[in-house]
C-alpha cells in the first residue's frame, strides 16, 4: 500500500473519530457522569443497536489511527528491513487484535450473552 494512501486513511480516521468520540463523551455528560457509568445504564447503551454501532465504528477508527501512529513513530526511531517489516506487521496485528477484542465485548453485550 502506498504511503500516501495510508496517511490519507490516517487523516480520515482522525477526523471521523473526532465527531464520533464527541458524541460518545456527550452521552456520558448528558446522563450525569457517575450515573452513566452504572451497570444498568451501560448495558442499556450496549443493547441500543445504533449506540453499539457507534462504539464499533469508534473502535475501528481509533484502532487504525492509533496503531498507524505508533507505526510511524517506531519507523522513525529505528531503521532496517527486518525491523520495519516487524513494526508494520506488528502494528497491523495489534490493530486487528484490539478490534477483535473490543468487537467481542460489543457483540456479546449487545446480544445479551452475559
Amino acid at each position: 500500500m502506498k504511503e500516501s494512501h495510508i496517511m490519507k486513511i490516517h487523516y480520515g480516521t482522525a477526523l471521523a473519530a473526532v465527531g464520533l468520540v464527541a458524541v460518545h463523551i456527550l452521552m456520558r455528560l448528558t446522563q450525569g457522569f457517575a450515573q452513566s457509568l452504572e451497570y444498568e445504564s451501560v448495558i442499556a447503551n450496549y443493547r441500543f443497536l445504533p449506540y453499539a454501532g457507534l462504539l464499533e465504528i469508534i473502535l475501528i477508527l481509533l484502532s487504525i489511527h492509533g496503531f498507524n501512529g505508533l507505526r510511524v513513530i517506531l519507523l522513525e526511531l529505528k531503521q532496517g528491513r527486518r525491523y520495519e517489516k516487524a513494526v508494520s506487521y506488528g502494528c497491523v496485528a495489534g490493530m486487528i487484535g484490539l478490534i477483535g477484542y473490543g468487537t467481542r465485548t460489543i457483540v456479546m453485550t449487545n446480544m445479551g450473552m452475559i
Binding site: 487523516y11 482522525a14 473526532v18 468520540v21 457522569f33 457517575a34 481509533l62 513513530i73 467481542r104
Partner: protein, 142 residues
C-alpha cells in the same frame, strides 16, 4: 549512532531550541502514545462488563478514586490537545495557512512559522487546560 552522528531521541524531543512548534511536535507524539495506551486499557476495562454486574463494579471502583479521576483528567487534556493540534497539523499538511512563496528578505523570517499556527498551538494548550478543569469539576463535583 556515533558513526552517523544522529541526535537521537533527545534531539528529536529537544523542546528548548526551536520554539513552540517543536514543543507542539513532541507533545503531539507524547499525547498520541498516551491516548493509544489509554484506548487499549479502556477496551480491556470495558470488557469487564462480560463478567456481569460484579465484574463491572469492581473495575469501576478502580477509576472512581482520586487517582483515577486525576488520570482521566490527564486523558481529557491529552485528547483535546491531540485533537485541536491534530486539526492544525492536518491543515498545515494540506498547505493551508503556511504562507505563500515569495522572494525572501533579510532577516528571513519563515512565513510557515507564522502567528496563525502559533495561535493554533496555544489554542490547543488552552482548550486542553479548560477541558481538564471542566472534567475535574464534573468528576470531583459528583
Amino acid at each position: 549512532m556515533k558513526d552517523e552522528n544522529k541526535e537521537g531521541i533527545g534531539g528529536m524531543a529537544n523542546p528548548g531550541r526551536y520554539g513552540i512548534e517543536r514543543i507542539a511536535y513532541w507533545l503531539m507524539r507524547l499525547t498520541g502514545l498516551g491516548l493509544l495506551g489509554y484506548f487499549i486499557a479502556h477496551i480491556y476495562e470495558t470488557s469487564s462488563i462480560l463478567q456481569g454486574k460484579m465484574g463491572w463494579d469492581e473495575f469501576l471502583e478502580l477509576t472512581q478514586t482520586t487517582e483515577g479521576h486525576l488520570f482521566l483528567t490527564l486523558v481529557i487534556g491529552m485528547c483535546v490537545f491531540h485533537t485541536v493540534n491534530g486539526i492544525r497539523i492536518m491543515l498545515g499538511h494540506g498547505g493551508v495557512g503556511v504562507g505563500k512563496p515569495g522572494r525572501p528578505d533579510y532577516p528571513y523570517t519563515p512565513a510557515s512559522q507564522n502567528a496563525r499556527h502559533k495561535i493554533g498551538i496555544y489554542t490547543a494548550i488552552v482548550l486542553a487546560a479548560i477541558a481538564m478543569m471542566y472534567g475535574m469539576a464534573v468528576m470531583f463535583g459528583e
